[in-house]
């Protein structure tokens, strides 16, 4: 039996994986954005808890950044974007939900197996947290691969980044400057992606990336 603080940290990390699965399952855009918000909120709570138990005040900044930027600001902006583009309808995955979930479970198993071998020397909970963070990253990648809609690919990217932050804080924190620069580069990336989304839609009348493949001559 482990101590309560580590158990709770573990629960938060597991909650993030579950939220990733929920995002993978959700195939409508607006609820998907809400799930991203929940995902980031869980990340913020997890980082805040880590700051508390590690006694590392700079992690509180990370937690506030996670909640402020990724839980509130970016979802709101995405929501406005989706509504302005008028695409708040069903989105198409390239594979079915069931298969995506199965692949997701496979990825979680893979990351656990990998982490078990790589970090054999360290504490059980640290290993598990790292494995869970890697699964969040992989699930974010899977989300980007299985979705055709550009907006949901952006959401997959954001959840991937949450996984990176989770991994960083679990391993006794990264330097604050790295943290802040990552947070802001994500914000910049979001703005650039947003502008590109509007440009894509202006040019092609859609944000479905499969149709754009035609223009590149990939599907003759």
């Amino acid at each position: 039996m482990q101590s309560f603080p580590l158990d709770l940290a573990h629960m938060f990390a597991g909650g993030l994986v579950l939220a990733s699965f929920a995002m993978l399952y959700q195939d409508r855009l607006l609820p998907l954005i809400n799930m991203l918000s929940l995902h980031s909120l869980l990340l913020g709570l997890s980082v805040g808890w880590q700051a508390h138990i590690q006694g590392a005040p700079e992690l509180y900044v990370t937690a506030v950044l996670a909640i402020g930027l990724k839980c509130i600001l970016i979802p709101l902006a995405l929501q406005r974007m989706v509504q302005r583009m008028g695409i708040h309808r069903e989105i198409e995955g390239t594979v079915g939900t069931g298969i995506a979930m199965l692949i997701g479970i496979g990825l979680v198993a893979l990351s656990m197996d990998l982490m078990l071998k790589v970090t054999a020397a360290s504490n059980v909970l640290v290993r598990e947290d790292l494995a869970l963070a890697l699964s969040v990253v992989l699930l974010g990648l899977l989300m980007m691969v299985t979705r055709r809609n550009a907006v949901s690919q952006v959401i997959g990217f954001m959840s991937l980044e949450n996984g990176l932050v989770l991994a960083g804080t679990g391993a006794h924190g990264m330097p604050l400057i790295v943290e802040i620069s990552i947070a802001f580069s994500i914000l910049i990336a979001f703005i650039v992606i947003g502008i590109y989304l509007f440009r894509i839609r202006e040019r092609f009348d859609t944000v479905d990336l499969e149709t754009i493949d035609h223009f590149r001559g990939e599907h003759p």
Binding site: Q2, F4, D7, M11, G14, V17
Partner: protein
């Protein structure tokens, strides 16, 4: 002298077991009544009294049972067999006391099997009736059951890995003495709740209050029953709900459950705690059913797939942490 003490202990366990057997069946219609009442109040209706299911059962038992001319013995035997299998399963789940006479047979897998037997008989009898609705209901029920069962088995695996046994009383004992906050147990809980909703044909899967032929699952199988046969089927359905609530309560919220010898007051507290848990489950279920809409039948596999996935993840995590 020690033989006498042993006999006394045996008799005590038998008495507790018989109490439990009578208790679950006595409380089952009340649970159904409380849920209906809560839902009615949430819809700002007056709603029938909590005791209405008891009155319904009395009325149905007094009525004559009508059986179709083309049916075989199966239709007449099925209501009793379904009720018996469900009752045995419900009596094996510890409600307020883990030291029961038959706890050695109270294996989680045995309980799943007993419920499976009841469901098989119900579906077979529904087909035996030869009416279209029975067939539709049976095929839907079997589809849902075949998806829910693997998820249930995964939950059983997770829990038995944590507790080191599949025996429910021991499991409840282990959980009551505390295993801390575990991610895999949280996943098992979520998964078990989804399975329980599916197995009891509650709202996101099936609406228990509807008789609309497009959507009904459980009710479609009961359309041809009347009188005492219908009473048995209704009581079995209520018992199954009580079974799942007690299962979740004794594994995930074993507060107040009696695990060792003590004054009789503990037993009273345990019964009260159990009743409080039942009431809390009714309230939560009613609120949940008011807040969600029924799902399309073809989306049900997705939901149950999530339950299966959670069970699988829970088992995976336990293997990783290697602290079984």
């Amino acid at each position: 002298m020690s033989a006498l003490a042993h006999l006394r202990q045996e008799l005590g366990e038998l008495a507790l077991q018989l109490c439990q057997v009578a208790f679950v069946v006595a409380v089952a219609p009340g649970v159904t009544g409380l849920i209906r009442r809560m839902k009615a109040r949430l819809q700002r209706r007056q709603g029938p009294s909590v005791l209405q299911p008891y009155r319904d059962l009395r009325r149905l038992l007094a009525k004559e049972a009508v059986v179709g001319e083309t049916t075989s013995w199966l239709t007449r035997a099925a209501p009793y067999a379904v009720f018996a299998a469900t009752w045995v399963a419900a009596a094996l789940v510890p409600t307020f006391e883990t030291r029961l006479m038959f706890s050695w047979s109270g294996d989680l897998i045995a309980i799943v099997a007993l419920l499976g037997l009841a469901r098989f008989l119900q579906a077979a009898a529904a087909i035996d009736n030869g009416t279209a609705f029975g067939g539709i209901g049976a095929s839907r029920e079997v589809m849902i059951a075949s998806l829910a069962e693997p998820a249930m088995i995964m939950v059983v695996f997770t829990l038995s890995l944590v507790a080191g046994t599949t025996q429910l009383s021991t499991m409840a004992h282990v959980m009551a003495t505390g295993v801390g906050l575990r991610l895999s147990i949280a996943m098992a809980l979520l998964s078990l709740v989804i399975v329980a909703l599916a197995e009891n044909t509650r709202i996101p899967i099936d609406n228990p209050a509807t008789h609309l032929e497009l959507t009904m699952v459980h009710e479609a199988m009961l359309l041809d029953y009347s009188g005492r046969h219908l009473a048995m089927m209704e009581l079995a359905a209520s018992l199954r709900l009580v079974l799942y609530v007690s299962l979740i309560a004794c594994i995930f919220a074993p507060f107040g459950i009696v695990t060792q010898d003590g004054p009789a007051a503990f037993l009273l507290i345990a019964v009260l705690a159990y009743l409080a848990k039942l009431a809390a489950a009714c309230v939560l279920l009613a609120i949940f059913e008011m807040a969600t809409a029924k799902m399309r039948l073809f989306r049900v596999p997705n939901l149950l797939g999530i339950a299966l996935m959670l069970g699988l993840l829970g088992t995976l995590l336990l293997f990783i942490s290697g602290e079984m």
